[in-house]
């Protein structure tokens, strides 16, 4: 059984060893150590124990470790891009969906471009007489004059009827 004084001293031996004890305690502990054999023994054991640990050698990591770190970071950055792709809805990844969607888009674009290049597809279907007049009489007329002539013609023929 150690007395209270020895107990208080021993609690500070570790800090004394590390030079982390305040000056007043440092003096007290040193005075006590000079007179107490049991605490001296404790002090010696502590020094020995610390010395044993500190003799463990410094090790050198493998020379390829940096490449591992670099590769991990690059893979993580790549998979971040992958995450963005994965956030799209599931059906987006199906090839059939992509084919059908692409086909539809092409069809719509083709229709619009064809309309622009080949004339007004949306025009009302011509009657037989319109086609005849278009082919034989109005080829050199402006569309406005053509429509006026046809209107007059159709009105008159309906009166005759």
């Amino acid at each position: 059984m150690i007395n209270i004084k020895c107990f208080r001293i021993r609690r500070r031996l570790s800090a004394l060893l590390d030079e982390e004890l305040n000056p007043s305690w440092k003096v007290k502990v040193k005075i006590h150590l000079a007179s107490c054999q049991a605490c001296q023994q404790e002090w010696g054991d502590l020094q020995k124990s610390v010395q044993m640990v500190s003799q463990l050698s410094r090790l050198t990591p493998s020379s390829t470790l940096w490449y591992r770190v670099e590769r991990t970071i690059r893979n993580k950055e790549l998979s971040k891009g992958e995450v963005v792709r994965k956030q799209l809805p599931h059906w987006w990844h199906k090839p059939v969906t992509l084919l059908v969607g692409g086909g539809l888009i092409l069809l719509i674009v083709g229709f619009i471009l064809g309309n622009i290049w080949l004339g007004n597809v949306w025009r009302q279907p011509s009657t037989g007489i319109e086609t005849y007049l278009d082919e034989h009489c109005f080829s050199s007329m402006s569309p406005l004059s053509r429509d006026q002539v046809i209107n007059v013609f159709l009105t008159r023929t309906s009166i005759w009827k």
Binding site: S14, A15, E20, L46
Partner: protein, 191 residues
Amino acid sequence: MVATDGELIQRCREKDLSALGELFHRYQEKIYNLAYRIMGSREDAEDLVQDVFVKVYESAEQYQEKASFSTWLYRVAVNLSIDRLRKKKRERLDPLENPDTEEDVSLIDALPADDPSPEELAIAREKKERIQSVLEEVDSRYRTIIILRDLEALSYSEIAAILGCSIGTVRSRLHRGRRLLKEKFKKLGEW
């Protein structure tokens, strides 16, 4: 001119991998030794060093200039080591696997001029392995402090900053840890 740690970490924030490379070459050995002494195996220590530097790169914004970079780095390393130890404990893996030839290289470096015999080499290596395994038997709270103080030679205030505790706590844990260690060494007849 050599870039400071602060400048390099700033470049890491801008996702400059070469800056991380410089920091890595400055600190890899310290972190590796700390990790090895806590984890007890070379493989785990290398994995941990890798995790630490990946974390530094990804969390560079979190570093505040109040503490020194090395303190922050040690903190990251200690936290990741403790997480890994807990995980290992949960998975019930044996932490003392293959002590292989871990001490060999440094042991050869530390040899005196007159070459020791193979027997002396083997004895020295065994002794170091025993010291390491005794160290690993001590609770990780105490072990970490012992390593930071007795192997990394950090001051109490640096250790307190790394572990996020008071200097008083460092002092008392170090005292308790060393006492535990001393008892274990005595039990094993190491002196």
